[in-house]
Symmetry: C2
Subunit: 296 residues, 2 copies
DNA sequence: AATTTGTTTTTTATATAAAAAGAGCATTCA
DNA sequence: TGAATGCTCTTTTTATATAAAAAACAAATT
């Protein structure tokens, strides 16, 4: 049966909203709450019923009143808050880059389903999705084989990435000065400085910032066929580097500084300077990844 | 339940083999037949049992002997010979580019399942696959919306295609003279000439030749992330132009001639000449497609 | 009259079940 | 002894069933 992760997340979100209000405060109408939470009214009604059951609110006709502030243990546990597909994807990637899977390994979907505690359908969907990332291959007998993070894979990935990003850089520097992308760039530049200032504590979260930065640059040439490249980059940064913490601090610090130089290059408006900063950064990223593969 | 299209195709293939032999001829062993047909022994055994049931062969211990030549009505009908996924894909694309679907249309999976006579799982798989081609988009409520063959779509598609193919051309002309790609190019060049000679009768099948030609050129820079682009190109040529027969003869004839010029350019070894022929052809292809969209 | 709520109908996501096809092993035959 | 066969066990594919969530519609309220 379908998971109710959406209900649980919405319920917790509603609690957050109530925490901002107080006892005796009337709640907004169902359609209004649905719009705020970004879900259907059906889900909102389920949440309201649950809140009334826990005596956090009271429902009398169409008058909904808050009875008390939510407590910590009113919140639903983190266990099933993640959509199933995300959970499977996370576990699968962890398995794929982990020690239980070597390149060329034939995947047993039934076995994975048992390991992850989900049905084979969920595994099937996940495998189908990842096949587009070039990390898996379908054999003639219908089975899946892992291809692994090989040197060829990284070469092809970065070739493609450079091809795309160089062109994006050329377009980016030529943007008119009032283009919204410039302010977004300044914003992300500030984030980079904030990151550097608090580097020791935050350097774990760098993959997200990295992903958003490159996505911003690439958005100068909107193209829906880039999704796969960005997806696979993000996945690899997120999962592969999770198993390879060696030199993580150095790696992230260097990338941060290169990003800042890259941003300067873009802002200078000089195509050759921007291109050069981009080239330098992508070159580093490529060799970093190649090194990390050989290290494992 | 699973379709037995594989069994049916194997059965017909086996009949073809028997048609080549004759009465009284002994059949090869099960493993040998499995290897020949490219299926498992389980399937071969099912085929052999069916052949014995129809009294085309007789099985006595491990001696399998042909009793008679297969007749026309021994063959299984064309109805279910196609794998289910292929059938769904074919019907879906026909629906997508046909008159029942306008850009922005919200897809009703249940309804499509009924129309195509398959289960929702099959539709789901198909939608997931096509979302990678950029023709569909997933809304926040989990529904699919068609994006249609818009002008932006074609622009993005061809931008990407040109980016990739220009680079492939540069690499192609620089290949060593004994590279196997050169002989493949000569082979496909011959096919083009054969096509031209018999143009009136064969011009319908051009999309396949076109696909193979561009795939060959692109293979000069092996990259697994190209699959999507090539896939979507192929799909569009195959299905979109099926609904748009206007000027088909002119369109195909012109493309054929441009291909030949393109091949000459590659063979000349002069990068700028090859690039120019490529540019010209891709430019024509782009405007042809743009025109065909507006015509509909 | 425009919202809001109560209720019903659709649609999607996921697990389960069953057929088809593959893989492996013991036995048999040449 | 080595390959072929018979049989059994897995794995994959597909349909079906069911809960969750969305959408649609009718009745009620301000």
């Amino acid at each position: 049966m379908k998971t109710n992760a959406l209900f649980k997340r919405s319920y917790n979100q509603a609690l957050d909203m109530l925490a901002g209000a107080g006892e005796g405060v009337p709640l907004p109408s169902e359609p209004a709450m649905a719009a705020t939470l970004g879900v259907s009214r059906t889900t909102v009604r389920a949440v309201l019923t649950a809140l009334a059951m826990r005596e956090i609110i009271t429902i009398d006709g169409r008058a909904k009143t808050q009875l008390r502030l939510p407590k910590r243990n009113d919140y639903l546990a983190d266990a099933d808050l993640e959509p199933l597909a995300d959970m499977v994807e996370r576990k699968f990637m962890a398995w794929l880059v982990g020690p239980d899977c070597s390149p060329g390994h034939v995947i047993n979907g039934l076995d994975l389903a048992r390991q992850f505690g989900v049905s084979t359908s969920a595994i099937r969907d996940c495998l189908n999705k990842f096949s587009h990332f070039g990390l898996l291959e379908r054999q003639s007998n219908g089975r899946w084989r892992t291809l692994g993070l090989t040197v060829e894979f990284v070469a092809e990935l970065f070739d493609m990435r450079e091809l795309i990003e160089f062109r994006a850089v050329d377009r980016f520097v030529a943007l008119s000065k009032d283009d919204p992308l410039w302010s977004e760039l300044s914003l992300i530049e500030k984030e980079h400085h904030a990151f550097l200032d608090d580097f020791d504590r935050r350097n774990r979260d760098f993959s997200d910032l990295d992903h958003r930065f490159h996505k911003l640059v690439d958005s100068a040439v909107p193209n829906r066929f880039l999704g796969n490249i960005q997806g696979v980059m993000s996945v690899i940064f997120h999962y592969h580097y999770q198993w390879n913490k060696k030199d993580e601090v150095d790696r992230n610090h260097r990338a941060l500084c290169e990003h800042l130089a890259y941003i300067d290059g873009l802002k200078s408006g000089d195509p050759s300077r921007a291109r050069e900063a981009c080239r330098l950064h992508l070159h580093t990223a490529r060799s970093t990844m190649l090194t990390s593969i050989n290290v494992i």
